[in-house]
Symmetry: C2
Subunit: 392 residues, 2 copies
């Protein structure tokens, strides 16, 4: 193996330090055991690296009890560490290393959340807006919220690493934005431009349902999981696919469009260009009943079954570890989840459903804003020049 160790392959080694830092940045606080699992490094190697990083104050360490208070229980929950009552310390990046701002410019609400690189939320607030509110106005509302939050909490944005912003509707990758035929280049371009000018940092824009998917995979029901398929069952049906902590964009920026998988090959034409889409099917049924709250148990079972079939197709294609379902319709609880799980099992390969967990979303109205933060923290600044969906 002599020529290999002297050859170009040797150069490919990620430094072990980088692996540790990437894990802490993308996943937040982790115990040593979790870090070992995430990085694949031996305990001995890891121990020596952590020692060095602590000495250089790039990483900080604290007890699990203090951690729970800090509001990031995910890391401790993930491995079940500490269940025997022993104090388990968690490692985080030095919170002074940078801030990320997440925004959700939603249909009826503008939300702003600010976190540090240690994944601690340092400020968060939202404001209602009318559906007809212009995009320029929504951006201004978000900027005002940032100003207010930074003043109220005495936060300096000197160390701002970037902005991640969720908007309604499809967001094409930059390649499509350059094309006249690209979907809604104006809207995402306007948002990016205005925010980049105001804050002088990289601004990443994506669909807010997709950002909610990333947030669930980072902070919520899919935390610490390699592959998460997220579905939002609301007046619209959307989704997102998070692999290795990264949101999959897809060639047209539409990966995870589960609402437009067909449940009826002879069904009506959908505005997306498809036919018999789940979203349309659900919307028609909800209309028929006059709203989510009026759906009969039978109607909920039918929706759940169709949704399970759609998820089955997606799961056979992607074989995720967790399916997270969010949105208003999950208020139906097991009336929804029981038939959904049954259909999902009925139409998937054994190898797919044997390893699959289906669970309800955990995050609330700030999910997409948190996803914006995760988008910033999972994309190191160095990548700005080549990430399609970013501009600086």
């Amino acid at each position: 193996m002599g020529s290999e160790s002297r050859g170009p392959l040797r150069l490919l080694r990620e430094t072990h330090e980088e692996r540790v830092i990437t894990a802490l940045r993308t996943q937040g606080p982790l115990t040593r055991a979790q870090l070992a699992e995430q990085t694949g490094l031996s305990r001995a190697t890891l121990s020596s690296i952590v020692q060095t990083l602590l000495a250089r104050q790039m990483v900080t360490e604290r007890g699990a009890a203090e951690e729970a208070v800090a509001g990031t229980p995910g890391a401790v929950r993930r491995s079940g560490a500490g269940v025997r009552g022993r104090p388990v310390s968690v490692l985080t990046l030095n919170p002074g290393g940078g801030l990320a701002v997440g925004m959700d410019l939603g249909h009826r609400r503008v939300q702003v959340t600010i976190a540090n690189v240690a994944h601690e939320i340092v400020a968060s607030d939202g404001i209602a807006c009318a559906e007809r509110t212009s995009w320029a106005r929504r951006v201004q509302l978000a900027i005002d919220l940032v100003d207010e939050l930074t003043a109220r909490h005495e936060i300096s944005l000197i160390g701002l690493a970037g902005l991640g912003v969720g908007i309604v509707g499809p967001v094409a990758p930059e390649l499509s934005v350059r094309s006249a035929r690209g979907p809604s280049p104006g809207r995402s371009g306007l948002v990016r431009g205005a925010l980049a000018e105001r804050f002088g940092v990289r601004v990443s824009v994506d669909n807010n349902t997709r950002l909610a998917a990333l947030a669930e995979a980072t902070w919520g029901a899919g935390a610490g999981v390699e592959s998460v398929l997220y579905l939002r069952l609301s007046y619209g049906v959307g989704g997102g696919l998070v692999l290795g902590g990264r949101l999959l964009a897809g060639a047209g920026g539409a990966a995870g469009e589960l609402g437009h998988i067909s449940v009826d090959r002879d069904g009506p034409r959908c505005s997306c260009g498809g036919r018999g889409c789940l979203e349309l099917y659900l919307a028609n049924l909800v209309d028929e009943y006059g709203g989510f709250d009026s759906l009969s148990p039978h109607a909920i079972t039918t929706i759940a079954t169709r949704t399970g079939e759609v998820l089955a197709a997606a799961c056979n294609a992607v074989n995720p570890e967790v399916v997270v379902v969010g949105g208003e319709l999950t208020a139906a609880g097991e009336h929804l989840f029981r038939p959904l799980r049954k259909a999902l099992r009925e139409y998937t390969h054994t190898q797919v459903h044997r390893t699959l967990r289906v669970t309800q979303a955990q995050l609330g109205y700030d999910a997409a804003a948190r996803g914006g933060i995760a988008l910033v923290l999972t994309n190191p600044p160095e990548e700005a020049e080549w990430r399609r969906t970013s501009c600086s």
Copy 2:
């Protein structure tokens, strides 16, 4: 931004050199223009790095004409470089940097292909075997082929980077292999163990249809493309999903199981545990007609339409750039592809089909063995300790 540039984020930078080497290792020969596109580096930065790598003999350079003779036309085709008749030189890793062996232990054939890190095939051969041939015997046939090829071509395996092996049937990730309930742990474990003992290097085992997918994404119809969905339409229907040059395994090692997406919710139970699966639907239809060659035009159209619907569901979930279709049934040419494309367009979101290309597989019987090579070249040896599907 002062605190950011001094903070931990700075450490996250991949070295530019590593980016260049990774691109050449995973994608083979590339022009400077292609390298710039792949790495996102500026022409100036790239030029200085290439200069350094050439001086250190880690990278070699040659004219496009010579390249075409070397049998790797993909790199030149990809960007259309050289169409104006100007000589365009391509860069590769120094071929002396290492070798990779790919094997396909198929139903009726054992194939061995050997390549260097510059993506040049240096030897390849196959031998027919009976379907009832034991796995131990298939492994021995493959070992004999390696011995014969290395002797015939005077190849030294001193610089062997690893073995990538395709086998029939599902291959569970290592986690499942440890579980008694995991699918076929014996078979992949046996293959891995015997080959690792014989060659003393890391051996990666995966399903051979999935490896064919990786090969098409690396050397074939999906070369140079970010996301490739591969479907094999044969007596069995399988597939694979390649994202960023990497084969997606999925939680149960079953990502890309497109043959088990249901085309009939009331259809018959499939051996996979699902119901109304495309594979079963196709098998029953082919049985009815007495073989692929006897299918009526109407039957081909029906199969193509059902296949297009299945691909549409998968494409809405993943939004790939290219769908590559291989297998015996593609001999029907446009009789298959025309209705398949029609159905695919009919049932996908506009944003998904607008950026989608559907194309026929390019590689032949050595596709899976080549995929084994790609598996080795896309997994740096350093990752051996933490890649699930590998052992050393």
